[in-house]
């Protein structure tokens, strides 16, 4: 038995989980319908795939949600996991699941997949025969991902950085790298059986004034870490910045560099896709305005030529959306994509050059770290603040970078902290904003800029 398999046995032997029958699972994946693999749909590239978010505690309600989505002609079904499971607190998840089932009231903000187990969940997945995407935010997602893949969920979102820095306060980052290495290994292993399992990184991060250079660097790193383990289908992503031009520039640079770095690091045969997230920050509290924001995002997703869009709902500011509301959002998005024609291809040479220089400078700093493996280099870079995510709750994050919006809505870096930005790039960033005089005014401007879509 291989070392990996031994590890898998230990991981999956958990009092809250199903008993894992790996042979049966391999058989299931080998014979699974290709329709269930998003990588299969990406290959066709005939349209921008639409995916909502959504998870309810009980099997019954989850099933009903999928039924609503199917009526709206959905492309990719989501499975969003509750926040207790995300922090591996299966006991609490179980308690709340029981309460939800007994009281007909949702006591969890997602589907507790581990507690439901793969045998049960697989029934739902094969019933709908659509690609499903696992959305969570879990630093140690090993058991969760094993359960997901065994259930027929063939896209796994997340990564050691993107599911740590925005989603955790003190989970050890070095452990997260190893746990995600495990996830990538398992995904790569199953990828040889049928269509590849798709891995997706979570570009929005904290969704709060994160500058594009940081987003892109982290996207490239997680892509390279996955490719290192043999993953063959990977999605990089980012969310609406607040300036259409900055979205376009981010997309152009991200696409270009993702392909370049993938090829440079042995991923020539890997398929790289682009995912666009509708606005991930604070939503307006008027649902009609939220609808407008959502539609604006759909158009931008088409303009930046994304391969998949992950959508929000008009309930975003209020709480987990109702199924009807969520399905309506899918229908609206599909309508706009169907009727929106003749999109221009846009470039901004100056902005793209500046952003590419910034990204390359940070990537060089990562590669120049003396550690022996990529993940250790990255770990050191984050620890020393060369990578720094604004508004991360995590204790390891440096929290020195400060950003603000310019008049066109672009996010600009006004304090670079320890980011290794070339002087001319930092000068360019600063040249775009008129900084208020007093510190209080700067803080007020930041608060205002966080609420750009209110």
């Amino acid at each position: 038995m291989s070392l990996l398999q031994k590890e898998r046995d230990v991981i999956t032997r958990n009092e809250y989980a199903d008993h894992f029958d790996f042979d049966e699972i391999e058989d299931f994946i080998r014979n699974a319908n290709k329709e269930m693999f998003i990588s299969h749909h990406f290959k066709k590239r005939d349209r921008l795939l639409v995916q909502p978010r959504g998870g309810f505690p009980t099997y019954k309600k989850m099933f009903e949600l999928y039924e609503e989505f199917m009526k709206a002609d959905i492309d990719v079904l989501p499975l969003t996991i509750d926040s207790n499971t995300r922090l591996n607190d299966y006991a609490m998840a179980k308690k709340m699941l029981t309460l939800s089932e007994e009281n007909e009231m949702d006591m969890l903000n997602g589907y507790p997949l581990v507690n439901h187990g793969y045998r049960t969940t697989r029934k739902m997945m094969t019933h709908f025969n659509k690609p499903v995407s696992l959305r969570h935010g879990t630093p140690d997602a090993r058991l969760l991902v094993e359960t997901a893949l065994a259930s027929g969920i063939f896209e796994i979102e997340g990564g050691p950085i993107t599911y740590m820095l925005p989603y955790s306060k003190n989970f050890p980052l070095d452990k997260a790298f190893l746990y995600w290495k495990y996830v990538d290994k398992v995904c790569a292993k199953y990828s040889t059986l049928n269509e590849p399992i798709n891995r997706e990184s979570f570009g929005p991060l904290t969704a709060t004034l994160v500058p594009p250079c940081i987003v892109i660097v982290i996207q490239l790193i997680e892509m390279l870490l996955s490719i290192e383990e043999g993953v063959k289908s990977f999605s990089v992503s980012f969310s609406q910045n607040g300036s259409m031009m900055q979205d376009i520039v981010t997309s152009n640079v991200l696409k270009k560099l993702a392909r370049k770095y993938a090829d440079m690091f042995g991923g020539e045969d890997a398929i790289i896709n682009l995912v666009y997230h509708q606005w991930m920050g604070a939503f307006p509290r008027d649902k009609n305005l939220s609808d407008s924001l959502i539609n604006t995002n759909t158009i931008i997703a088409a303009m930046v030529r994304a391969d998949k869009i992950i959508i929000k709902t008009r309930d975003e500011a209020f709480g987990i959306p109702t199924m009807q509301c969520n399905a309506q959002s899918v229908a609206n998005t599909k309508y706009t994509l169907r009727t929106l024609k003749g999109l221009p291809v846009v470039h901004d040479a100056e902005e793209e050059e500046n952003l590419e220089l910034e990204v390359r400078a940070i990537m060089d700093a990562v590669f120049n770290d003396p550690a022996d493996t990529l993940w250790r280099k990255v770990f050191n870079t984050i620890k020393s603040g060369l990578i720094d995510v604004p508004f991360s709750p995590h204790i390891i994050n440096n929290n020195e970078v400060i950003t603000i919006r310019d008049d066109s809505g672009n996010i600009r870096i006004i304090e670079k902290g320890k980011l290794p930005l070339p002087d001319r790039c930092f000068a360019y960033e600063k040249s775009k904003v008129n900084l208020p005089e007093s510190q209080t005014e700067v803080i007020n401007k930041i608060i205002h800029d966080i609420g750009a879509m209110l």
Partner: protein, 134 residues
Amino acid sequence: MKVVTGVVGNDIHVVANRLIDISLQARGFEVFNLGVNTSLEEFIDAVVETDADILLISSLNGEAEGWCRDLQFLRSEYNLKEVIFVIGGNLAVGEAAQSDIVPKYKSYGFDLVFHQIDLNTGLDEIERFVKERV
């Protein structure tokens, strides 16, 4: 006055927490910010340790109810009658009316409950409440 604040449970929404920290300081409070992902026991410990006047809990991701049901018990256990217990943010999974939420959380032992209330409105109310108590 001393305020212990933070975000309860497995909730990692940090943006409001940072703003609350800044706003409380601007209003002259002495702030002990436990940050996100804080359990009820940690809050109570911090209140005891710092001899705080106010405990201001945030919750954004809908978890609060699961965590705060034992508050009444802890409150009497530690004899914290003088401390003002406040909770605010988004206090339910899914959309919920204030008229349902406020009495529920008051029954759990909170003095002030702000479901989907603007931060400054809430802090004004807290200051008013403090004055009336003295």
